[in-house]
Assembly symmetry: C2
Homo-oligomer: 262 residues x 2
């Protein structure tokens, strides 16, 4: 358990280091200062870690998936920023989220953050051993996950959660699946693609990521403080998640499986 924890922590440190180098505070400072700040202000997501771990599980080197992991974190940070943006029709922005910059600057900055992540990825073609087909596939995966049938669909449903005729349990399932689920599924699949996994491995890791993400959403996202509703579901998801890892190599499975118990 200690080793598992430090495996994930060391991946997280690597990703943070990579991002710090990729987003230095440089001119125009009025642009890069908020970009740097908002990139690191978002709470960490496990999706980038999962991306590196899946790459290593499929016998790749973690560095091959670093640009993808960074793009996943940037995507997550941009969405987090927009989620907490003070809009005229958003009744209750979360009071615990500090706003160092005005809404206008936060809006724009997050608009720049997602493309920046994809740019890192597109430009990683020259620096790695991956072939362009794999990187293009990963770009397709990330853009689909963040888009209208993925995270954005989850955010829409979340907006409707207060409506009186909503089945709360089902709505939570849907939001967790689309929001955290899609991002983590995408992270794991991208890692497996870049690590050289075969189609079966990619799909198994995608499902593993989906379950891990849903658990995360139920614990920390829209399911938070609804423990009574969630406990049983989370336990089922853990069992499903671990089942997807059954055919992978023993030692590395131990490392990646720690991600579903956080």
């Amino acid at each position: 358990m200690v080793r598992n924890h430090s495996y994930c922590s060391s991946i997280e440190v690597d990703i943070q280091e990579y991002l710090k180098k990729a987003i230095p505070i440089r001119p125009p400072v009025s642009v890069f200062e908020p970009m740097h700040y908002l990139t690191f202000a978002a709470p960490q997501s496990k999706a980038p870690t999962l991306c590196i771990a899946a790459c290593e599980l499929t016998s790749g080197d973690g560095s091959q998936a670093m640009a993808a992991a960074a793009a996943l974190h940037l995507t997550h940070a941009a969405i987090y920023t927009h989620e907490n943006l003070p809009l005229t029709d958003r009744p209750r922005p979360k009071p615990e989220v500090p706003h160092k910059f005005g809404p206008n600057v936060e809006l724009l900055t997050a608009d720049g953050i997602i493309p920046f992540g994809l740019e890192l990825l597109a430009r990683s073609m020259d620096q790695t051993q991956n072939n362009p087909d794999k990187i293009l596939r990963v770009i397709g995966e990330i853009t689909r996950a963040v888009g209208s049938q993925g995270i954005v669909a989850g955010l829409y449903r979340e907006l409707q959660m207060d409506q009186p005729d909503i089945n709360v349990g089902r709505a939570i399932d849907y939001v967790c699946k689309k929001k955290e689920g899609e991002l983590h599924a995408c992270g794991a699949a991208c890692g497996a693609i870049l690590g050289g996994g075969d189609e079966e491995e990619i799909e198994k890791l995608r499902k593993y990521g989906l379950y891990v993400g849903m658990i995360h959403g139920m614990l920390n996202g829209v399911g938070k403080n609804k423990e009574g509703l969630m406990e049983e579901k989370i336990e089922k998801l853990r069992i499903l998640a671990l089942k997807e890892l059954e055919n992978f190599d023993g030692k590395k499975v131990e490392l990646i499986s720690s991600l579903c118990s956080a």
Copy 2:
């Protein structure tokens, strides 16, 4: 002139048709209806047209650049939506922009639109003759143009235009260069890349696009209603623009050059 006008119009029709097929109103309707609406609510930009025209000028077939042109339009539409979003710190949203949906839905939808455009592009690998290297390069071009050193930098500066110590003339130049300029430069460069232009042709068309975009910004963007300040600049930009086309084939030059006289 009539032929030039219809050349551009026929390209615009093709792009609209392509987009209509790419974004049908399908389930979840609560997501795709605003996506469809906001895609076509934005005023048309010449950047996608320029992309197709540059592809054809460099001896490519227009269809090879269609996904890129669509991604450019979607990027433009998303930015337009966010620009006109009612935020708590935005004092004067333009009264002429109608809002069919609430700010929250508009924010989210535009967040889904940019990735969707890039997804179209990433997935166009299978359907065209282009090799993945070119498409990856184009994704890098578009993400860079929209990001923190491109359009977003222009939008930042535009926010500061009301400050008392601003040199209005220089600020307009900067905003037009970064906002419309970068998008059109990117459009022309992407078309030339996909059309198989050599590096010199790509860079000439990139500059042509930059000047065309700046003219557009001075006429219709931040320079609007400041004709006295702009007239001379616009004339200079037109001369610079046409100069970039000098070494291209005669007949096709006539077609693409109409874009800088609109």
